[in-house]
């Protein structure tokens, strides 16, 4: 076993083995390193494993001691003959053990446990020196691709003592495609350039080693720097030696930005006008036009309502869901400042019909769920773990968890005539909630902030909104700009976008800070975030990599293409073919990006196959963005797609009948699909295809008008099935 060699290899342990073995500082870390107290083993919630329970990652030594030494009539430890202790018999695999052999009898870990048993299993929580900090060396390092680095972890105790705990610490890279960390703390850099962080954990504390992996290619020229984003992205590219691709063509930009802001393809007329315009600021102007269009509001409302769980469980949910979706959409249309939007959601009171954000409290009923959703969605902090135990990679404790929960402790509910819907109001009283562990009342506090004494008459949720919207809040603005960055760049500066923590640093920290600062200073103006991103050269880089930057996955040296999401793709096919998809209860012509809730997925194989989310989670990961065989087959063969091609009065039908020269018609197709002119070889292939005579099943030549129509349907089909159509690039 690897562990064995590691433990033996650690000289510091050998040096210390003579001293008294500490339960808190030796035994528990050995159990942690060996994986005994992982969530899958003896720390499994509720019952542990096979009757033996340990606290998760050893966060509760007192409890572990009770379980280990006193429970089961003390049969797990046998001080008189340590090797006969159940603890060691099982751990070393000498007795049948579901978890297999975890400790080699020759290992240092085994020796430590044995020594502790021999000492009479003392408990030293009070006397053992308190761990106060963890230090990893090096904390920051520039490493070449395919290189290695050994980390050294030092624990610092309250009594001033330090100890090398490298062998007992746990190591994990935040991007396993970039670096691998072994159990002994040896980091192996793979071949992707950029920034990667290796998290080191030891007894509830965590430290990070930030590794910068330069590509080292010459960066001779940079596209024009249009704002602070470019300055910071290009500075990073220069530093790590990744030359960026050039700025993309106008046509590519137009299609890209229309899809990203408005969730739709440009129309032929728009593409024509934009391409022929010679205005130097036409890109900025296009961004502005898109931002003022209702399409922007529709598209981003689609994003937010799924995350806010606007989910149809019963037919009677329709009113609440339509109202809530519309509230989000109208707020975005009015460009309501983000802090106000969140405030109105968090502190909603009244009835759904009178104040639609109240619908959120219909979906998310428990205070724990409320705080978890709010933390993950608006602060980018995942608090779920801290409900039951100290967060394993974070500073958040159960106290922090219940302090946040306390903001939601004074929500009053009165039933309405609609089953399942309550009137929400602030119930007068002291805001506080019980810490499930300590059974003590906890008052509200923002994460990392001091406890608040909120008078009984004040709605604590308003104070939570105050804290979140405070300019100094370290999470609120960052979480949003990171989420929006990912929307436009496929990858967040922090990944996953809603897992902001010290141990998961951003790939470009200066940029994240600058974006957050810009957002706060704009007065939480969501359109300003979109504007500054889409106007940057970084956003406008070509998707085609140059000879060096093809390996780049996180430095934004070129545009990372992504498949159109389900709704956008369906709308794009409708727009391209001239068909209209019918959705229950909604006017014909309603676009898929404007659908209010998940109920439409049931009736649409298309939306399901392409991964439209069900609104079950606050995580954007619920939306499937990957490509699959089912998707390809659907596009090629499904009846609904075929019916769209053959829509009466649709594009194929119209072009087949139109009295226009074929080249003009082919040009229209390319503008409609790709927002660009056809190239000469494309033009030639299309013309040849259209001119080809066609026969029916019996081999009889088809009449020319029917033949032309089939030819146009085929052409549309072929264009839809290109990567250029399916991807935003």
């Amino acid at each position: 076993m690897l562990l064995l060699s590691l433990l033996l290899a650690s000289p510091s342990f050998a040096a210390e083995s003579a001293r008294a073995v500490s339960f808190v500082n030796d035994v528990v870390p050995v159990l942690t390193k060996a994986g005994c107290n992982s969530g899958a083993c003896h720390a499994k919630a509720g019952q542990g494993q096979n009757g033996f329970q340990l606290s998760l990652l050893g966060f509760e030594p007192q409890e572990d001691y009770e379980h280990l030494v006193k429970e089961a009539r003390g049969r797990r430890v046998f001080a008189a003959s340590p090797d006969q202790s159940l603890l060691l018999m099982k751990a070393s695999g000498r007795l049948p053990h579901g978890g297999g052999m975890r400790l080699d009898p020759a290992s240092e870990g085994y020796r430590l446990l044995r020594a502790w048993l021999q000492q009479g299993t003392p408990f030293d929580q009070v006397t053992a020196p308190k761990l106060v900090s963890l230090d990893v060396q090096p904390p920051r390092k520039t490493l070449k691709t395919k290189s290695e680095q050994q980390l050294k972890v030092t624990a610092r105790y309250a009594d001033g003592r330090t100890r090398d705990v490298t062998a007992l610490a746990l190591f994990e890279a935040n991007d396993r495609a970039m670096a691998e960390a072994s159990e002994s703390g040896r980091v192996k850099i793979l071949d992707i350039p950029g920034n990667v962080a290796v998290m080191v954990r030891y007894q509830g504390l965590a430290a990070v080693c930030n590794v910068s992996i330069p590509l080292g290619a010459p960066v001779k020229s940079l596209p024009p720097s249009r704002n602070f984003i470019d300055q910071l992205v290009f500075a990073n590219l220069k530093l790590i030696g990744i030359p960026p691709s050039p700025v993309c063509e106008h046509a590519t930009f137009m299609r890209r930005v229309s899809l990203d802001i408005a969730g739709r393809l440009p129309t032929v007329a728009e593409a024509d006008a934009f391409l022929s315009s010679t205005e130097p600021t036409k890109r900025d102007k296009l961004v502005e036009t898109l931002l003022t269009s209702p399409d922007y509001a529709d598209f981003f409302a689609n994003k937010w309502t799924a995350l806010l769980k606007n989910k149809r469980d019963a037919a009677s949910d329709i009113t609440a869901n339509f109202a809530f979706h519309s509230w989000v959409r109208d707020s975005l249309l009015a460009n309501k400042p983000y802090d106000q939007l969140v405030r109105q959601l968090l502190a909603a009171t009244g009835t759904i019909e009178g104040n639609p954000p109240v619908a959120w409290y219909k979906r998310v009923k428990q205070p724990t769920e409320q705080l978890e959703d709010v933390a993950q969605l608006f602060l980018g902090v995942r608090m779920q773990c801290a409900q039951c135990h100290h967060h394993p990679f974070e500073r958040w404790s159960q106290h922090d968890y219940y302090s946040m929960s306390a903001f939601f402790s004074q929500i009053g509910r009165k039933p309405t005539a609609t089953a399942g819907e309550d009137v929400i109001f602030h119930k007068r009283g002291m805001a506080q909630t019980e810490n499930k562990k300590t059974k003590l009342p906890v008052k509200p506090a923002g994460l990392g902030d001091p406890t608040l004494d909120i008078p009984p008459d004040e709605d604590p949720r308003l104070r939570l909104a105050d804290w979140m919207g405070n300019k100094a809040n370290p999470f609120f603005a960052k979480a949003l700009v990171n989420r929006y960055w990912k929307h436009f760049f496929k990858r967040g500066l922090i990944e996953p976008e809603d897992d902001i923590r010290d141990t998961n640093p951003p790939s470009n920290p200066e940029l994240l800070d600058a974006l957050a600062k810009h957002f706060v200073e704009s007065g939480f103006d969501l359109k300003a975030v979109v504007r500054v991103i889409t106007q940057s050269s970084t956003y406008q880089l070509s998707a085609t990599p140059n000879q060096h930057n093809g390996v780049d996955r996180q430095n934004f040296s070129h545009f990372y293409p992504r498949r159109m999401q389900a709704e956008v793709l369906l709308d794009s096919i409708d727009q391209f073919t001239g068909a209209k998809t019918e959705f229950a209860d909604l006017p014909l012509g309603t676009r898929a990006i404007a659908l209010p809730d998940n109920s439409y997925n049931r009736g649409s194989a298309f939306l399901k196959v392409f991964g439209r989310p069900e609104g079950a989670s606050v995580c954007e990961c619920e939306r499937a963005s990957s490509a699959s065989l089912a998707q390809s087959l659907h596009l090629m063969n499904a009846a609904d797609v075929k019916a769209k091609l053959a829509t009466s009065g649709g594009r194929a039908d119209r072009l087949a009948k139109a009295d226009k020269p074929e080249p003009a018609k082919i040009r229209e197709l390319y503008l409609a699909a790709f927002a660009r002119e056809p190239q000469s070889h494309e033009q030639a292939v299309a013309e040849e295809y259209l001119a080809r005579p066609r026969e029916d099943a019996a081999g009889k030549p088809l009449p020319p008008e029917q033949s032309r129509r089939i030819a146009y349907e085929d052409l549309l089909w072929a264009l839809i099935n290109t990567k250029e159509f399916l991807y935003n690039h």
């Binding site: 209702p294 009677s316 109202a323 009171t349 009835t351 602030h426």
Partner: protein, 751 residues
């Protein structure tokens, strides 16, 4: 009205018929209901033609209103005969602007009401579909358009905007009985949305530039159809001026507050900033303050001095003004210690509790679906110590909403005891979520009795008895009412049409009378009803409102299926501890399903009475009251017996006779014309060439006449079939309520 829109309304009626037949068994006997009028309002001093639709409105001869300033006559066709379901309304020049109740008097009596608005604005009625930008209907400034929402569609309107000239677009719906939850959008000249409102049907818009703008209207969930009518008003409003709102019907909760209430106290206003204790606005008691819950999370803090032993009554009206607010009052005593203040809670005043517990859910029946309570405040403040006090008023729904329209009136007064009363028809049992019966009008059948809940909200410590009664009852109609006993909040009212009551229709009054400080005080009982007959409350929440008055009618078309009455019309006396046997007479009209009626008793102290089970068609029964077990309070009681039953109801069989006669005549007419046409046709072939043209012309005319006669014949046959089908016996579940039984309970002889 265009034939198209008329057709769509007729289609709507057909839909209703379908909806009701979808249930295996219809609940309650046919009652006349006016469901829609088009238009839904008219300008003062004008005459307009309206088309109506409804249920059970055969022989609708009159359209009547809750104000005499609105009068209507049937619209006469080109043949001088009244056109079905069309009336011409004349609005007097001095007609009060506002919402009035319209009702139809028909074969079965007076119908349920529908709101009809009298406005000052010019009125138009949409006549052609406007569901696209291209077909947008141009609105004139300061006008109202009457329209019906199209399902799964958006209605488009356009107007010409002037830069900086504020306009208010308002869509009246729920306030005029419509089922539509409106969404209003103002869009630019290319139809791109600029501003949207989905919660209050109001948009206050100042155009950023001169040009054409669009107004889009649709339902929140894109519902449409005849029940989803609306009045869209476009008004120019000066900058800074108050927003004019279209009139609305009154909510049930508002019966306990009159907007005109005057307590003889000088009026003041809420002066901001007064959110914090340090900014408290100084007042002296009593006071009558007008204020607003604005901006978001507004708190209005008032400071006053009071002396030990004082008792003040605090009332807040806001929700009862029709606003979506939930006022909350906190009174604290302030003790100062240098710069420090100690605040001690003295009173916490929240909702006005409903005088009768409303149904806990919209499906099974466990109480009336009327909540006569309010989110407003009405309560007592007793001062236990001399000192300084602060009152904080906040809107529990106002944390994040900034709407200056959310106003309130706060009155702190010395006791001014009074009471307010409301009533609604009850049905005792409702099956399968059926709320249909909750909107029945007082359209009585001879021999029938209707029961009502009457509730009271008592003000400022008033606790006395309230005698209930009715005035202006038609001939043959009597009302018996329980007194609402001292301290209680509920009573019952029974309205009975005698078997011989003649046909009539009028407006009565229900009143409550009591003694307050030695004077007799009479207050009206305001009638509440559901605005629509909702058949399935799981799919739609029935919405109630107050009616403008108390219309009442007796039909001569048919009698009540069952009458249950005590054999003698007298006060039955009984001593506590003894038994009383009351012989009952039962009259049965028509056929019934089932075998027995299981009677139950209603009336405080008697609901647990052992009641008889009566075999169908039995002419008599005995009701034995055992006052050894019941123990009601000594004194006079009015009680009633009731039961559910299923009748094999025949709808308007008289119509068959008429339809049959009409069919015979149509058949005969057609036959005669056919013979004439045949004769002329023969003449044509026989006619000499020079006369043929003239004969041919005559023959052609005859053949045309024949065509229309054949059509009339087919129509008559169709009507005959419809009448026959309607009159076929059909199971209908309803309740029968006995005539009132008056009992005087005497104290027991035993000491």
């Amino acid at each position: 009205m265009s034939p198209k829109s008329a057709a769509s309304i007729i289609a709507g009626v057909a839909w209703f018929a379908l909806a009701s037949s979808a249930f295996a068994q219809q609940v309650i006997l046919p009652t006349p209901r006016l469901l829609t009028t088009m238009p839904m309002g008219a300008q003062v001093g004008t005459t307009v033609e309206v088309a109506i639709t409804g249920e059970n409105l055969e022989e609708a001869t009159d359209l009547v209103f809750s104000t005499p300033k609105l009068t209507a006559k049937p619209k006469l066709g080109s043949d001088g005969k009244p056109e079905a379901n069309k009336f011409v309304i004349t609005v007097a020049a001095d007609a009060p602007v506002g919402v009035h109740d319209a009702r139809v008097v028909s074969r079965l009596g007076v119908s349920a009401a529908r709101a009809f608005t009298v406005s000052k604005l010019a009125e138009v009625t949409r006549t052609t579909p406007n569901t696209s930008l291209e077909t947008a209907l141009a609105l004139k400034p300061n006008s109202v358009c009457n329209a019906v929402m199209s399902a799964r569609a958006v209605d488009f309107y356009s107007f010409t905007g002037t830069k900086g000239q504020r306009v208010v677009v308002e869509c009246a719906t729920a306030g005029i009985d419509s089922k539509l939850t409106p969404v209003l959008i103002v869009a630019d000249g290319e139809g791109r949305d600029l501003v949207v409102n989905r919660t209050s049907g109001l948009l206050d818009f100042t155009p950023p530039a001169d040009g054409k703008y669009f107004v889009k209207v649709h339902g929140l969930t894109f519902k449409g159809g005849p029940e989803n009518f609306y009045r869209l008003a476009l008004q120019d409003v000066a900058a800074g001026a108050a927003i004019p709102r279209q009139a609305r019907t009154r909510s049930v909760s508002s019966f306990s507050w009159s907007p005109a209430a005057d307590f003889g106290i000088a009026k003041t206003t809420d002066t901001e900033p007064n959110n914090a204790h340090a900014q408290a606005q100084k007042i002296t008691l009593p006071c009558d303050i007008s204020g607003g819950f604005f901006p978001a999370a507004d708190v209005d803090t008032f400071e006053f001095s009071a002396k030990k032993g004082e008792v003040w009554w605090i009332e807040v009206a806001s929700e009862r003004l029709g606003l979506p607010t939930d006022p909350f009052v906190l009174v604290q005593r302030v003790e100062k210690d240098g710069d420090k203040e100690k605040l001690t809670d003295v009173a916490e005043l929240n909702d006005i509790p409903p005088p009768m517990k409303p149904s806990s859910n919209g499906y099974s029946y466990d109480g009336p679906p009327y909540d006569a309570g309010s989110a407003d405040v009405l309560g007592k403040l007793e001062i236990k110590e001399d000192g300084l006090y602060r009152l904080q008023l906040r809107d529990l729904f106002g944390g994040t909403r900034s709407d200056a329209a959310n106003i309130y009136r706060l009155v702190i007064r010395q006791a001014a005891p009074d009471f307010a009363l409301a009533a609604w028809a009850i049905h005792f049992e409702l099956r399968n979520g059926d709320r249909n019966a909750q909107s029945k009008p007082i359209a009585l059948r001879p021999g029938g009795t209707m029961a009502f809940d009457v509730v009271v909200i008592r003000r400022d410590g008033f606790a006395g008895d309230i005698e209930l009664g009715m005035e202006n009852l038609p001939t043959g109609v009597t009302a018996a009412a329980l007194k609402i006993p001292a301290g209680q909040s509920q009573g019952k009212l029974l309205i009975t049409a005698s078997e011989k009551a003649p046909r009539s229709a009028g407006v009565a009054k229900i009143v409550g009378r009591s003694q307050i400080n030695g004077a007799t005080v009479t207050r009206p009982v305001q009638l509440a009803s559901m605005t629509w007959p909702v058949r399935d409350a799981s799919g739609e929440i029935p919405k109630p409102r107050l009616l403008a008055d108390v219309p009442i009618s007796v039909t001569d078309a048919e009698g009540a299926p069952i009458t249950i009455a005590p054999r003698e019309n007298k006060i039955w006396e009984v001593k506590l501890g003894e038994k009383l046997t009351i012989p009952l007479a039962l009259t049965w009209r028509g056929e019934f399903s089932g075998t027995t009626l299981k009677l139950r008793a209603d009336g405080a102290g008697f609901t647990a009475a052992k009641t008889p089970e009566v075999a169908l068609k039995a002419p008599t029964a005995e009701f034995v009251l055992d006052l050894a077990t019941l123990k009601p309070a000594p004194g006079e009681h009015t009680i009633a017996l009731y039961s559910g039953y299923v009748s094999k109801y025949r709808h308007n069989p008289a119509a068959i006779v008429l339809a049959e006669a009409a069919q015979k005549k149509a058949d005969a007419d057609a036959a005669a014309i056919a013979a004439e046409a045949k004769k002329l046709a023969a003449e044509v072939s026989a006619a000499p060439a020079e006369k043929r043209a003239a004969v041919e012309t005559v023959a052609k005319a005859a053949s045309e006449k024949l065509k229309s006669a054949e059509a009339a014949k087919a129509d008559a046959a169709k009507r005959m079939k419809a009448a026959t089908d309607a009159a076929a016996p059909k199971d209908i579940a309803d309740i029968v309520v006995s005539e009132p039984i008056r009992i005087r309970v005497l104290p027991s002889d035993k000491k």
